[in-house]
Subunit: 232 residues, 4 copies
Amino acid sequence: MTTRSDMRVWENPNGQAGSDLDIALAAWVSTGADTRDHSDAAVRGLIRYLMAHRHGTPFEEGYLSVTIEVPIFVAREWMRHRIGSYNEISGRYTELQPVFWVPGPSRGVVNVGSSARPKMATDEDLRSRTVAELTGVYLAAWQAYRRMLDAGVAREVARAVLPVAVYTRFRARLNPRMLMSFISLRIDHPENWYPTFPQREIQDAAELLEAMFAAHWPITHAAWVASGRVAP
Amino acid sequence: MTTRSDMRVWENPNGQAGSDLDIALAAWVSTGADTRDHSDAAVRGLIRYLMAHRHGTPFEEGYLSVTIEVPIFVAREWMRHRIGSYNEISGRYTELQPVFWVPGPSRGVVNVGSSARPKMATDEDLRSRTVAELTGVYLAAWQAYRRMLDAGVAREVARAVLPVAVYTRFRARLNPRMLMSFISLRIDHPENWYPTFPQREIQDAAELLEAMFAAHWPITHAAWVASGRVAP
Amino acid sequence: MTTRSDMRVWENPNGQAGSDLDIALAAWVSTGADTRDHSDAAVRGLIRYLMAHRHGTPFEEGYLSVTIEVPIFVAREWMRHRIGSYNEISGRYTELQPVFWVPGPSRGVVNVGSSARPKMATDEDLRSRTVAELTGVYLAAWQAYRRMLDAGVAREVARAVLPVAVYTRFRARLNPRMLMSFISLRIDHPENWYPTFPQREIQDAAELLEAMFAAHWPITHAAWVASGRVAP
Amino acid sequence: MTTRSDMRVWENPNGQAGSDLDIALAAWVSTGADTRDHSDAAVRGLIRYLMAHRHGTPFEEGYLSVTIEVPIFVAREWMRHRIGSYNEISGRYTELQPVFWVPGPSRGVVNVGSSARPKMATDEDLRSRTVAELTGVYLAAWQAYRRMLDAGVAREVARAVLPVAVYTRFRARLNPRMLMSFISLRIDHPENWYPTFPQREIQDAAELLEAMFAAHWPITHAAWVASGRVAP
């Protein structure tokens, strides 16, 4: 049995298409012009305008395919974003692996905010006791899972015993507009115009995604930051 | 701590609108006619035609709002249907209740089919041992959850220990087209033209939903059955 | 042949479900509480909170089914809103009616703004000349349409001659979240936090829709206005 | 003024990602296996299985961005497909070009089928009279459009006079699942399991799209044809 605290997101091979220029070209269709200044300055000016005026559809030009490894409780939050395509490992078709999440050293485990606006504070003693509690149950659950499988119980029944901390893996496909929508809700960032209170773990995953977004669409990313990180 | 085997789906107050006639009226917009035979026979004829020719959009007329109580492993399958609206109890905002799923007496626990086409057979001895295994871990998980909460651990951290068998509750809104899509994939029925191999628990929930669908849209339901239970 | 300037939107019989309270009940699922203060004050407080924090999904509880009569150039803008369900009269299945749009007396016909931020000014002389130009072509188009149909030309071919000003009719189904998204983009209102520059005719239709939204969901409507008419 | 009969669809630069193998990789996530036979035979076997069992989500892996030039009456049909992203030339922001559709020599203009199942027969004499009727109105409409613009009438008003035969241009982004859904409804093909009766012009456009689909995803295309051209 393994315990981890990190979230993983990586790009799939052949899983990226489009650029800031392509977003601009999509928007320029509106005015039907054939000859255009395609310089970065022109693209930047247009994209800032689109962002400020909430013209969202040109940001649906582009594609990113990623694989995600996170605990089930994070996958559950992620897949509430319906404008996306998912394929996930199945606990009916395959045996799950004994990898479980525990809070790492920097992870606050005490809520010193309110219920609706949680704010976590660290407490190393409490964290280590929490890890012990979690690990004890994970081990018992895993052993029960294995015993049931070995006794001939179907996977779809035996898996019921596994905690939501067990890691799952899925593939997701997103366009830049979806990326902005996801990240704006899942990262609590000082430059956000709208407050959001995501759980730390999905924020960790969203930060990995934001780095990919910024790498492939740097002008769009900068304009979105300048517009308060609000998805158009 | 409580264990259960049943799935629950019930209609929300004020949560239903539309009828077979409304679906027909939506379709009749296409031909722009103002005077119409609104008899059941006319509605039935039209709806059969729409179903057989896969004219899907008129079946988006109508609305059903329901509440669902199922284990997390069933909720996860349900929410993969993206054409729907959901609100679910949050393990961050509230303490979850100690209610867990176990396989009931009639529930097959041995897969005598293949991995891709599971087929469950009952085995009472194995089932009762499974219930014992599951219940043991549920109790340990629940006690750890309570101890962590009592020690001041944040709900969003403590919940990681809970098995996917814990019951959750959510609200869903669907139209007749979504109902047909959901049910066609989640019920293994002898009249299905396309085979499907749902897990027993989501099929139980889908059967409750089908009864509501048949009650509110009887002509549509009958036409869909006659068309091999394929969503248009 | 008839000319008109107005847009029409009316509710379909049996085409409404849900209320402000139902939106609140959807949101309260998150905290799982069974006993609740269901007073208007409690509902108002919650809905304001949801709106300010962009918790959008509870506003997907509810349903409104309407019929719309507008020129094709307005229907084209409307149907770019993909989160909606539509059924429209077909120019292939039926003969269209000779009803065409012309700008009415209060309709500005001169753009004194820019291309991206149009602003219309009235000019009665130019408007009446415009009506004459439009009417002349409408009549010629209609006569050609009739002659082609009478000569045996298929409707799907003959309709090609009809201007985009010809009135069409369609049915649309929306929930409160979609209503807010649509109205926020299609009405240029002084209380909008984000500017928008809709064409007058779709704004006329959106205003009819806003009145229905305000009538059925008054608390939600007021909270949305107080939040700068930005859809959550 | 120009008249045309053809539909145009072309791929945008940088507007393609994904392959048959990527679809297979998305599906293989379900079973979590790391080592795989990636041969064409293995991919083909899997994709056939997915298609036959209506496992649709792996076909959402992949991306195609295209530009389309068709008359407005075809664009209206196309954009009823909501699972797609569009950006179109705007008649408010720019002057439209004087290019109009007429039926070409091979285009049947007489409906010898029924209203719901149209079937077109050619009639060269009637076609040439139709072209004359259409062209006459197009010219009158275009001249009125120009006169209004020259007199200072706003584009958004003057465009009302233009027939739905005027060509428009838009960009669309699709994944393989959307491609199959679109093509299955818009091409009347002898191998279709479900009949469909599209208008000739959108079928012409869909055939161009099918060629691109077959070129980029040949195994998926072949499996879809073998499954009666029904989208999974």
